[in-house]
Amino acid sequence: MSGVAPTRTVVVWCADWPAAALGRPPEAPVVVLHANRVVSVSPPAREAGVEIGARRREAQRHCPEAELVERDPDREAVNFEPVLAALDPITPRVEITMAGTCRFPARGPSRYFGGDAAMAERVAAAAATALRAPAVVGVGVADGAFAAERAARRAAAAGGGWLVIDAGASPEFLAPISVRSLGIPELADVLERLGLRTLGAFADLPAADVTARFGTEGAAAHAVASGVDLVPLHLADPPPDLDVDDELDPPLDRVDRAAFVAKALADDLNGRLESRGLAAVSVLIGAETADGSLLERRWRHDGALSSAAVAQRVRWQLDGWLTWARGRGALTEGGIVRLWLRPEQVAPARGRQLGFWGGADAASMHARRGLARVQALLGEDAVRVAEWQGGRSPADRYRLVPIDTVPVADDESLAVRTAGPEPWPGHVPDPPPALVWPVPRRAELVDDEGRRVEVNRRGAVSCAPARLSIASGPWLDVVGWVGPWLVDERWWDAVGHRRRARFQIAAGDGTAHLLALEAQHWWVEATYD
């Protein structure tokens, strides 16, 4: 890794973007979850004590009236588009890595507006007005993207506004910041154990020693901590014939069609890149509208963008343009007639073997490609994958998510969340049932004399179950039963309060079911088929 004189960069940072993207009023507490862990909170929820990384139940305990929402990268990307559009008049070279933050080189705009401070003021004002949802925006200007980002975060933490770090003052600014900010937890752990808690302490170490101990990743982190901008050695201008474009006829004006177009174009680009052994680090997505105006956006990723990642970003960008640009007149009724992708920076791809000595599996790649046909027939969301979520009832333990939202692992299988280690209080004991009814089926459970089996308020069952009938089917003998397992959920919530008594019933024909008594009715929740 060679460090070069860092380019002066402006970073715009929206605090708590996953929560802010929802567009709720500023006093509403919002908690965004992913795989049962909190990933983002709005300020009222933070004040109530909800922390990032906490579990769902802990969050609910701290702030029961908070709105709990599952994370949606699509929503975050689409709702950030107005901010990017507001920055376009200031500079054409805006780059976005992740929804909620973007950056651009400072030199041109700074000269135009008469200084860093004036420019930062303009940018902050533009971003704040463009946001549909009230969110706190910080703007940072410094040498190097990392320092600028930390400056923007600090400005946002102070309630919004801007912060300019003078030229050459980055190392001084970064020095007191904790090593956790590098985003490499394993490295931060080791450094803290060695007594190096701040970036300044880390940067003071000799670079050669750091490389010897931590390898290239550590050397890169060391360069960043020293305020040196990181430029990977092999970045080069890609040859022009790697651009791909597509004429869209009829013009694209609907969000659902955008996905197919995006995927096709991204696959084309990746095919060309792969045959040269390259992967894109930064991609320019461009579109021409029916009335001739041009829209462009740069997306960058600090690693290399995989095929699925490029397709996802193209889809987000098209969604963003189609959703927001229409209202401001940038897109007329005509829609988008031409779309192109240009890889702006490429790096050597890590290489993917075709099943010779391990690595990406040929079956996996084949499967992923073939799914596109099914999606073309049934729609993008018809193909889904099961991701572990965790829950009390059998139906809550896994949820189905569209396959395009799931990242793809190295071996081209899907990086789905697998079961976590935490035991779930009140969950039905293993073995899990083989059939979980998405809509519980009505049932009747009676004793010898035909009276319905009931459970009183103290949790005692009224009589021993003797016969079971499912969905008005034939009566089956009950040959084994256990229960009631009482579940009393959300007792504090008038609307969400649920009380259920669960039973396991084995019937005479060999089947076994999980029954629940709720609101005086018996339901079959699951069958142990």
């Binding site: 095919g271 996996s364 991701e387 084994g480 060999g510």
Partner: protein, 264 residues
Amino acid sequence: MFEHGEMAEASQLAALAQRFRPAVLAAEQTLPVAEAFLPLLPLDGLPRGSRVSVSGAGATSITMALLAEASRGGSWTAIVGVPSWGWAASVRSGVAAQRTVVVDEPPVSQWGQVIAALVDTFDLVVVDPTHQVTASDARRLAARTRERGSVMVDVRVDDGRRRFRWPIDADLSFSVSTSAWSGLGDGFGRLDDRELTVSASGRRGADRQRRIQVRLDGSGHLAAAASMNTTPMNAAPTNAAPTNTAALPAVDPTAPKRRLRSVG
């Protein structure tokens, strides 16, 4: 041998991979399957290019057990139109969630097309059509499956809805007939191990029926069964026509009344 074209390089590499794959002969014709099922199968695994039908009480668990070994070995699975598939049970039995894809039940007019597209891509396709499969669809799918070497598993979920017969018989039919649970008493215990009888027959009853007893224990492990203590089942076999009456049978005054027993 190698041309100087970018596109050609990648495909040359793929072709080379195909040629130099370790040559496995008989195994090419089958997908790996759990050892307990081997007595039921003509070759040493699930025969590729065939349709397997599974029905009876316990069909879903047996289906999961059939898929597990192949899925663990890297095969991709597609599950079409089975909204009640129990994921926790599936993961526990060994089906890899990162190589399993769920497709919503396609509309009847597109069903054949969608299944054909899936059969082309996936080694294992699980279906549960609730409509009558047309003869042309069935023929086309059988040909596609055979050509591609996939396995289509037709599981019949008992959700009260009617299921129709396929125009072409399945290459292999598994019928899960009796099932006995252990662990559940009269108001205590919990469902634990179960014992199932799986019988298999070939097409048109040409092969004699083979039958095995398997045991599925609480942790999802499948093994050939030894006898075990089970909750007593009624003698009536499950494929007897059920009495479709909602009226309660008369209470027999001489039968001992069940009493609630307090346990601790």
